[in-house]
Amino acid sequence: MIGGVLTWLVLALVLVLFGARAWVVETNRGRLTTAGATQRGLTWAVAASVALLVVMAMVNGGLTLTGLLINGEAETGTPSDSAPVVSQQAPAAPAAPAPAPAPAP
């Protein structure tokens, strides 16, 4: 749970850094003075944050999913897009039906 939240936070960080880098790159395009150092710094920051995100993703389920994909060891269910409704729980015991008046046609 906490790992998942942290992964979402790192994704948010990646998006913010991507946005900041895009801002620096685009607003300095065509100027005589460019933001070379800032741009390089942000590029490294983006790369580092992406690497961190990949690590977080692998730790929080990525390795498990990879294992499942390679080994195919998983409890499988029916694809539900073609079979509209798939029950995965025992149905609740319904109460005895109460006689209902027939609706008007």
């Binding site: 998942g4 992964t7 979402w8 994704l11 990646v14 998006l15 991507f18 946005g19 880098r21 895009a22 801002w23 685009e26 607003t27 395009r29 065509g30 983006v46 992406v50 995100l53 993703a57 929080n60 389920g61 990525g62 498990t64 999913l65 499942l68 994909l69 195919g72 998983a74 409890e75 499988t76 269910g77 029916t78 694809p79 539900s80 897009d81 073609s82 079979a83 509209p84 409704v85 798939v86 029950s87 995965q88 729980q89 025992a90 149905p91 609740a92 015991a93 319904p94 109460a95 005895a96 039906p97 109460a98 209902a100 008046p101 027939a102 609706p103 046609p105």
Partner: protein, 658 residues
């Protein structure tokens, strides 16, 4: 030639000046500009300022040259299209009043549609064609004529039927109902709840509007969403084809070939809106093109006799040459990046397949250096990956077979075509026409790709259409996968097809008449194909009211099941009344009614007229088969009828489930 309207930097200014001027001239609507045999494409950029850099902005602009043929148009061109469009709309209520839906059979809506409906469609087509043939086509009028065309084709079922057709649309309405109020998707019910953005969005709309159902939205959603798709295709075609008429033809051809019927109230319909938005950004305002300074751009050899440089050198030069920059101001570019990123992130929790289609298309464009902002590919990939990994954990832990295929090789093709090729004569003909349409589309598109290559030396569009086919690897997804693969490629395929048609009519302008006649054939065929299942996809107001009453009367948690999976049985009660025990061979009770009912013991059984018709036209049952089952159940003493009217009925279990 979107990318040619770019700043090419000081080193390449002279080389690109002429092409830039040519492309910039296409920013203005001038139907008489036809010196070049090929219309130049336009871009979604602002017209360049006529002021040289450094010149004060208050310098008077040079006057825009008047069109050569500025004389008044004849009344036929001025009033023809509006009058035809109005007549088409006037015909619609008459069509609704005179179409007898009780006669729906294997040929579907086309067989019962009133002559007024057909007249409306013909008039709408005529409105489009007349305006396009005008010397000075008016963009607002073309927009209105296209809207009327959509209303008379895709909207025709909504006009003549009192409720939304299509079982799945009602089921998704039920998903929305399950989320409304609590905002929490039910678990263990349906895999689609792992991508709940669309359901949550409409649940929010529903709650905010203070209504308790979305029946009207369901009914008109197809026409509305197809109109948005058509706008996307028009914008794409403006970027890829240029010209003033070709983009409209592309939008109409897209409509005419779009029989796929994925426009019902569904996540994928919204996903395609987002996909088209991103693709339009990438091929329009963000488009670039690498300039190969080696003089030989790409493979195969573009010009006969030109010296062929070593491939490694061409790759090296291509890789080291930065793409041209868009001419947009930085803030506009940043706004487009933001919007595109937002769309890409929004697709991730909306639909299972659409993110992979757009990521694949963006990867193709990024690899060949055709759009600025390649970070969007990374953003989309990370967003989708993290969503599936974290939010979809329960899904892939339990349903990994949807990804790996589960040994069901060839399942999608089988389910998408061969398993559906059944039913009476009407059903078979309609289904064969459905198979024919993609073949026709691809043939036209391949010819168009050849024309495009001859004109632009560019193979990227056909690659964009091919990329979604890679998703066919997910065979276990089911038959609808094939439909979506076709749909994801359809916008680009139709644009290529229009390039072929344009080359066809340029050889002889009289061939435009043939295209007009082709449009008159295509749209009625579309109506036939799309309405082919309406015998059992039609939903009546009585069906809806009966179903709601059945759910109201069902005890909490009681199992409510339809005899067969058609009709609006899923409009509510998802997660509460649909947790059926898994019984082999009973995905729908009609497969083996008495055994399935005996083992599943549903508390309430729903019978619709559409179920009766499904059995007759699709499964070869004798008329009255559903009534016989109903009578048998009542005679057994297990069920009693709380509602009966014709083929519609609600049976409630008398014996308590064991």
């Amino acid at each position: 030639m979107t990318s040619e309207t770019r700043n090419t930097g000081p080193g390449r200014g002279a080389a690109s000046a002429s092409s830039t001027r040519t492309a910039e001239s296409t920013q203005y609507l001038d139907p008489n500009r036809s010196a070049s045999p090929v219309d130049q494409p336009t871009t979604a950029v602002r017209p360049p300022s006529p002021h040289p850099q450094g010149e004060p902005s208050d310098t008077p602009r040079p006057p825009t040259p008047a069109p050569r043929d500025a004389g008044p148009l004849s009344p036929l061109w001025v009033w023809g299209s509006p009058v035809l469009a109005v007549l088409a709309v006037v015909m619609l209520p008459l069509a609704a009043a005179t179409t007898n839906l009780d006669d729906l059979g294997g040929w579907g809506l086309a067989a019962v549609l009133s002559p007024f409906g057909w007249a409306a469609l013909v008039l709408a087509i005529a409105a489009c064609v007349v305006e396009l043939w005008s010397k000075r086509p008016r963009i607002p009028m073309l927009g209105i004529a296209t809207t009327v065309l959509i209303l008379c084709s895709f909207g025709m079922p909504s006009v003549v039927m009192p409720q939304a057709r299509f079982t799945t649309a009602w089921l998704i309405g039920g998903f929305v109902d399950a989320l409304a109020g609590t905002g929490v998707p039910p678990t263990g019910v349906d895999a689609r709840f792992y991508w709940p953005a669309f359901f949550a969005q409409w649940a929010w709309f529903r709650d905010a509007a203070g209504v308790d159902n979305l029946d009207v939205v369901l009914r008109w959603f197809p026409a509305a969403v197809v109109a948005v798709w058509a706008i996307g295709v028009y914008a794409l075609a403006r970027s890829m084809l240029g010209g003033t008429r070709a983009p409209w033809v592309a939008a109409w051809l897209f409509l005419g070939l779009n029989w796929i019927e994925q426009d019902y109230f569904s996540p994928q319909a919204t996903g395609i809106v987002l996909l088209l938005t991103v693709l339009t950004f990438a091929l329009g305002p963000l488009a670039t093109r690498r300039t190969d300074t080696a003089g030989v751009a790409g493979w195969p050899r573009p010009h006969p006799g030109s010296p062929r440089l070593p491939r490694w050198r061409r790759w090296l030069v291509s890789a080291m040459t930065p793409p041209n920059s868009p001419t947009l101001p930085p803030r506009q570019l940043l706004l487009i990046y933001f919007s595109a990123a937002l769309c890409l992130l929004a697709i991730a929790p909306t639909h299972q397949l659409t993110p992979f289609a757009i990521i694949g298309q963006l990867v193709v464009l990024a690899v060949v250096g055709r759009f600025r902002g390649r970070g969007l590919v990374i953003v989309a990939t990370l967003g989708v990956g993290i969503y599936i990994l974290i939010a979809g954990r329960d899904f892939w832990m339990t349903q990994i077979s949807m990804i790996t295929g589960g040994g069901d090789e060839g399942g999608a093709i089988e389910a998408g075509f061969f398993e559906r090729l059944e039913g009476d004569t009407g059903q078979i003909v309609v289904k064969l026409l459905r198979a024919l349409m993609p073949v026709l589309t691809w043939l036209l598109a391949i010819v168009g790709a050849w024309v495009y290559w001859k004109r632009r030396r560019d193979l990227v569009p056909i690659l964009l259409a091919v990329v979604p086919m890679g998703m066919a690897a997910v065979q276990s997804y089911g038959g609808e996968l094939l439909l979506r693969v076709i749909l994801y490629g359809l916008p680009v395929l139709t644009i290529l097809a229009v390039d072929a048609l344009r080359a066809f009519v340029r050889a002889d302008r009289r061939r435009e008449i043939a295209l007009g006649i082709g449009m008159l054939i295509l749209f009625p065929v579309l109506l036939l194909i799309r309405g082919g299942n309406d015998a059992y996809m039609d939903v009546t107001t009585e069906d809806v009211a009966m179903t709601r009453q059945a759910y109201d009367q069902a005890p909490p948690g009681a199992l409510v099941q339809p005899l067969s999976n058609v009709g609006p049985y899923g409009l509510e009660g998802i997660g509460e009344h649909n947790r059926a025990p898994g019984v082999e061979g009973c995905t729908q009770i009609a497969n083996d009614p008495l055994r399935c009912i005996d083992q599943m013991q549903p508390q309430t059984l729903l019978f619709y007229e559409s179920i009766e018709k499904e059995g007759v036209v699709l499964n070869g049952e004798q008329p009255g088969w559903s009534t016989r089952i109903r009578d048998q159940l009542i005679a057994s003493g297990q069920y009693r009828a709380t509602y009966q009217n014709g083929f519609n009925a609600v049976l409630v279990r008398v014996v308590a489930p064991q």
